[in-house]
Symmetry: C2
DNA sequence: CAGTGGTCTAGACCACACT
DNA sequence: GTGTGGTCTAGACCACTGC
């Protein structure tokens, strides 16, 4: 490939698939960024599914007609974004919520004392799973129109028999068509793993807004505390590949014996 | 430098300062990691202070007798850790809490509605600054011995006249010898910036534990809420360069019109 | 203009995993 | 052994900043 994207030389006659076209737009973007975009596109299109091994750096370099080092830089950034996982000697894999040794990658509620995997796995109980029309606020956050079909799921998470979290999920009806309370209840493992295998939806990142609130009657009952008990209110908006919002989640966390852990840097 | 750390060739007679000595220990670490450690050591030693420009990649490469690309990789990682800041065309600089266009890098409390820099800057009021002996729990977290000298600071932060945060800081007495309530009160700008300029202590990262609690009498009065009002309890342990804990901070946040924002990925 | 970081390439060799 | 990612080098050129 040319040393300058604007000035291709003999080595690479720009054919179909060649990612270099700088002269078209005022914006300049480095080759590795273009490669990154192309890889992302393949991820979105489902060419490589969560858990799959993607082609080797060398193969991708040939496919995109750039050097292996350029592909490497693209993959490096996708790996630090947790979209890909590199494994030396084996290959590069599409990240997945299943099979990640940490069971709940997005759950930040930890016990105040004791180890990480102390009192066993979380016990899940699905309370409800309904199909209904999106309220205005839910629709806005999910980039839908008010009244569009959405799924509402309520569930309770407990540790060692003691309920710790009650939460309500809102999912767009289209991508999650066919989701039933039975499928949710029977499933073992993270819900986001089920979303991947059953609906091809991979949650990539999320933003949470946290507040302290007083428990209302219903929530207090579900969590086994007195009404008015202080709870952490956690509102999460989760996104799939293209910064497309795919889940709105509102949870109430008991923090008597647990805390929400956050790392700043 | 040699292509193999274990097998130096003619080009670089290992002299003082050469970072390569793989045969001494069973652990293998890549060259760029060793360079990273050496740069970190210079940062800790204060050879380059916050805001300073460090030598160019080329100069560092000569100094450490490695290629520029290897230095680049080391600096890349230090930059993603927010220890260094690269500025194209200008140089690489030591990160600082002052002069960062975002005023409070570690403060995650945002207004529910409105822009980032909406209702003006935070108003700070120092309530107290005392020198005393470390309680057991404080000492443990700061890696001190019970009874060692520590500084305790209490302050209130308000936005547009409405108090939003009350917090209590514990600082080790040694590094912060001479810190007075006057210095704190007169200071404009982030407290962590003052720590850098006055005490040479740079906070690099922090871990926060978040809970929901009910306001006690004193806290309620300071924050202008009723006792029992739900508050966010935020306990922060902040570290300087060598993962050395340097500040314990316990804060209570009002979250009526604000929320703690967190990004998951 | 010179100096800095940023991109891209090409090739060599190492460490690791599987077969 | 073969194939993968991981490290290291050397050199060329681009983009940005400030003199």
């Amino acid at each position: 490939m040319a040393t300058s994207p604007q000035n291709p030389t003999d080595a690479a006659p720009a054919e179909a698939g060649a990612p270099v076209f700088e002269n078209t737009a005022p914006a300049f973007s480095p080759l590795y960024q273009q490669i990154k975009t192309l890889i992302l596109r393949s991820l979105q299109a489902g060419e490589w599914k969560p858990g799959d091994m993607i082609p080797s750096e060398f193969d991708l370099a040939a496919r995109f007609r750039v050097s292996q080092g350029t592909v490497r830089k693209a993959i490096d950034e996708l790996a630090t974004d947790n979209l890909l996982v590199r494994r030396q000697g084996k290959g590069t894999f599409v990240a997945t919520h299943a099979e990640q040794h940490i069971q709940y990658r997005f759950l930040r509620l930890l016990p105040d004392t004791g180890t990480l995997e102390d009192q066993g796995p979380a016990e899940r109980r699905i309370v409800e799973c309904r199909r209904l029309r999106a309220p205005a606020e839910v629709a806005r956050q999910l980039s839908l129109r008010t009244g569009d079909a959405v799924l509402q799921v309520k569930r309770v998470l407990a540790f060692a028999g003691i309920p710790a979290i009650v939460e309500e999920l809102w999912l767009p009806g289209g991508p999650f068509k066919g989701l039933t309370i039975e499928a949710l209840s029977e499933d073992k493992g993270p819900m986001y793993a089920l979303f991947e295998t059953q609906f091809g939806v991979r949650m990539v990142r999320a933003v949470e807004k946290i507040k302290a609130v007083s428990a209302d009657e219903d929530t207090a009952t579900l969590l086994g505390v007195a009404p008015g008990h202080p709870l952490l209110s956690v509102e999460r908006l989760a996104y799939t590949y293209n910064d497309e919002p795919m889940e709105l989640r509102r949870g109430y966390y008991r923090t008597d014996a647990r805390h929400y852990r956050n790392e700043l840097s």
